[in-house]
Amino acid sequence: MKRVVIIVVAVVLLGFGAVVVRAVMRTSGAQSFPAAVASGALPVAPAFVLPQLDGSGSLALTSLRGSVVVVNFWASWCDPCKDEAPILQDFWVTDAQPQGVAFVGVDTQDLSDDARAFAKAYGLTFPLVHDDGDGVARAWGVGALPETFVLDRQGRAVRWFPGVVSAADLRAAIAEASK
């Protein structure tokens, strides 16, 4: 009888421990990536394969290795994203595309229909993907939208911009990532 009690208590404690460990991993992962980028540690960006917002298949981040990549996290309900969208679109047309810099807009924590309407309203022509879970945003440590990361040709994150990013900041970050 005593043995049964010990086994049951051990199973309960193990289960509880697993829940706690998972919760801690979820929160700690959320903070570490941007902090590592900000410290200049050049962490490799978490990989993702996400469906394109226009329904034309999926996009793997690793397929962009060899190019400098700008990854922007946004959502249609986010007010600063509305201010940022024209800046990104202009930059894509005038700077990024001619220089061969890849651009990916990651729509996250959002209804995909709303996101498509947003992209249409702001005339966004750079590749857009939809984060169809919450794992990618969490792995990248995305807190308040919008957030932008600039990756070098090896997929390492060189700069992180929380909030609305300016064209000047993007230019400087791309120059740094191109070295």
Partner: protein
């Protein structure tokens, strides 16, 4: 031509109740809001006023009016936000742990109480039998004899 129009009208009238029932809301907003999470604030949808929560509410209301079932609405939201949009964890994968934990805790608690009760009872009966062994052999018989003699003398 008139026959065709009449036929179409008859079919329309016959199908009207089916269409009307299909478009009836099958659940209340209050009900579903308590079963969904706000993806940005990690609180239940009925307790959140964030812009994302407002958009989800508008989506749910639109689909509810169209006659979608609660399961259809939830499936559409899971497709966009992942399973964390559901207040209750899925009954699969790691979500199973959350479902099993209360049962395991209850079983563990019962096993603990029963185990402690049995141990306590065993200790008490052990103590009782311990007192009996301390009695000198033959003492019982002697006490009985003394009591008998005492009652005889009283008579």
């Amino acid at each position: 031509m008139i026959r065709r129009v009449l036929l179409l009208l008859c079919v329309g009238v016959a199908l009207f109740p089916v269409v009307a029932v299909a478009a009836q809301p099958q659940f209340s907003m209050l009900e579903i809001e308590s079963e969904l999470m706000c993806p940005t604030c990690q609180s239940r949808l009925d307790m959140s006023q964030s812009p994302a929560a407002d958009r989800i509410r508008a989506f749910v209301e639109a689909k509810r009016v169209q006659g979608w079932s609660k399961e259809q609405v939830k499936a559409a939201l899971v497709a966009d936000f992942g399973p964390s949009v559901l207040a209750a964890p899925p009954v699969a994968g790691f979500g199973l742990v959350a479902w099993l934990m209360p049962a395991l805790v209850a079983i563990g608690g019962i096993a603990l109480v029963v185990g402690l009760a049995l141990a306590w009872r065993g200790r008490r009966s052990g103590a009782r039998s311990g007192t009996a062994t301390m009695v000198e052999p033959g003492l019982d018989a002697r006490v009985d004899q003394e009591l008998q003699r005492f009652s005889d003398e009283q008579r």
